[in-house]
Symmetry: C2
Subunit: 340 residues, 2 copies
DNA sequence: TTGTAAGCGTTATCAA
DNA sequence: TTGATAACGCTTACAA
């Protein structure tokens, strides 16, 4: 019943080194103080000879500590999420954790699946980047008992550590910039606000800031990523209504900014010439699109990094009250917000 | 010694349902034909009551079959890799496999780490997207005994299934297009060719195609992503040397195209006006950059999808000869290659 | 300094 | 139909 194709086990190594499993285990865990140099060497050779690698399965089963962190991403296609991921990875590396990335593709079923998977593989904590995730999916998270931290998004009635952008500061900064640049008519385009706190906070700060300038017209409109052509109508209507005024469009996130830029192209409207344009989220092509697009840049890496730091604190037993960390955004000014 | 915080085990369920572990295990594996309806219901209730979830750790340990696939990505920041990932995921979903994504960030150490991790968690196969991976890192792969398929890149002296672009077809298509558009002087900018077969094949096909047109000047130059300013000198020299001719630049991949576009901006050269520009890899912003950038689009999703299909064939015991699948690229023509 | 043996939570074998 | 019981590969008391 030999299965020669299979990997060597700790018993094989023990046999080859003419010793017991215990000593091999000790070797594996670096407990050299209880190993004679001679035995240590025998084990070393046996391991090399058999090309032995310990089974994390068995290890995890036994000790329950895996140094594994799960990251659930709703949409890996989103560059914002990827940046966050990089920040988390950096932190993981420093702390000796390994990151397992799971992309749910915005599907509830996938999220449920991964959540169970991660938990059943004994990850010690989970980071959830819920950008674009539907409420339904989020509720599922509450069932998980694992240490967990949310990125970017709060969930109503679900107390959980959160790390993200200071939306009020950011939207205020962006709106002020447009007004300073002399724009008198502002349109904030957002995905459906619903209970998505990031969107709501951005829109609120937008209106609040604009309301300090009576001569400025400010309105917001909702649209969905799935119906990009809807933007054409939205923007056309706005431009007609506000004809003669210096108009600017502000966009709630990077994914939507891409769609807005495409719509403007279709409409033969040029940002920086026919109207102003400012988008949340810095994109690699922001400077290449026409005269460049002014963006509100999030400290994404930092957000990811601190999210993991917080998670590890929880893993290490921190029982302090839930905390929400908000980081300031930065304005990157380009041609799209300086009308000639 | 009770640990009430911990998850329920199969024994707990068995106890709660007043039965043995075996029956519970049978229930979990859907062997209802050997379970009386009555017992089945008791188990069902016990599971619900305890919110029991089987431990994949223990399962994997026991049966050695996990339905897990590992994906090793050298640079998740690369949109090409993300697209591939999406294709693989789609295939995984269909086939009932779960994908674990590991980003090595182009670090050899990370790759070694993940390779061991995946194998020690009993993934049944690995897909490697080596784009941007250094040779050093690739060698490590050879040690792995798992079923494996490479994306985009071959490794010298390492027989392994590979799925990628038909580089010769693609480069020929692109070069022909430039010549048809009346460009007489072509510069192919590539990352260091070394033994990276994709780059070599593209450059070779480029020269071969151009050589059919005696009036066309064709040259290639190497540069690295880490020294974007080097591009400025490269391009300036080319434009001066070929002054008076209709010049075009072709770029070996999307990441480098981004850098080239930035360099051209710095040099105040406008693609579609001062020179032609064509890049491998379609990017979401290709149409938004100036007059739009002509690209050679890879069927990325398809590549990912077929890579997984091939891997599964191997997992299922396919022992046929190593196979390399090359998919055709498609030209997306935009303003950058039609000089007024 | 070394080794034996009892688990960890499953599944597989075999007997009832 | 059921259910002990022995693995799976590892860690960890506990002995020696």
């Amino acid at each position: 019943m030999n299965r020669p194709a299979n990997r060597a086990t700790i018993s094989d190594v023990a046999k080859a080194a003419k010793t017991g499993k215990t000593s091999v285990s000790r070797y594996l865990n670096g407990e050299f103080n209880v190993l004679s140099p001679e035995l240590r060497q025998r084990i070393e050779q046996a391991i090399a000879a058999l090309n032995y690698r310990p089974s994390q399965m068995a290890r995890g089963l036994k000790r329950g500590r895996t140094r594994l962190i799960g990251l659930i991403i709703a949409d890996i296609t989103n560059p914002y999420s990827v940046d966050i991921l990089c920040g988390i990875e950096a932190a993981c590396r420093e702390q000796g954790f390994t990151l397992l990335v799971c992309n749910t593709n915005n599907e509830v079923e996938q999220e449920r699946h991964y959540l169970e998977l991660l938990s059943s593989y004994q990850v010690e904590g989970i980071v959830v980047n819920a950008v674009g995730m539907r409420e339904e999916a989020l509720n599922m998270l509450q069932q998980s008992l694992l240490p967990m931290v949310l990125i970017d998004r709060k969930i109503a009635e679900f107390d959980c550590d959160m790390v993200g952008l200071d939306n009020t500061q950011a939207a205020t900064l962006a709106t002020s910039h447009l007004i300073e640049q002399g724009f008198e008519s502002l349109l904030f385009i957002t995905e459906p606000m619903g209970v998505v706190n990031t969107r709501v906070e951005r829109v609120n700060a937008f209106h609040h800031t604009a309301s300090g300038f009576p001569h400025v017209h400010a309105e917001h409109q909702e649209t969905t990523l799935s119906q990009p052509q809807h933007l054409d109508a939205l923007i056309t209507a706005f431009m007609q209504q506000q004809a003669g005024k210096r108009c600017a469009v502000m966009v709630v996130n990077g994914a939507l900014t891409l769609q807005v830029a495409r719509a403007l192209r279709r409409l033969h409207l040029h940002w920086g010439i026919d109207l102003g344009l400012l988008g949340f989220d810095e994109l690699e092509w922001s400077e290449l699109a026409g005269v460049g697009i002014t963006t509100l840049k999030q400290p994404t890496r930092q957000i990811g990094y601190h999210a993991l730091a917080q998670l590890i604190r929880r893993i290490d037993g921190d029982r302090n009250a839930i905390c929400q960390q908000a980081f300031a955004g930065e304005l990157v000014v380009r041609g799209s917000t300086s009308l000639a």
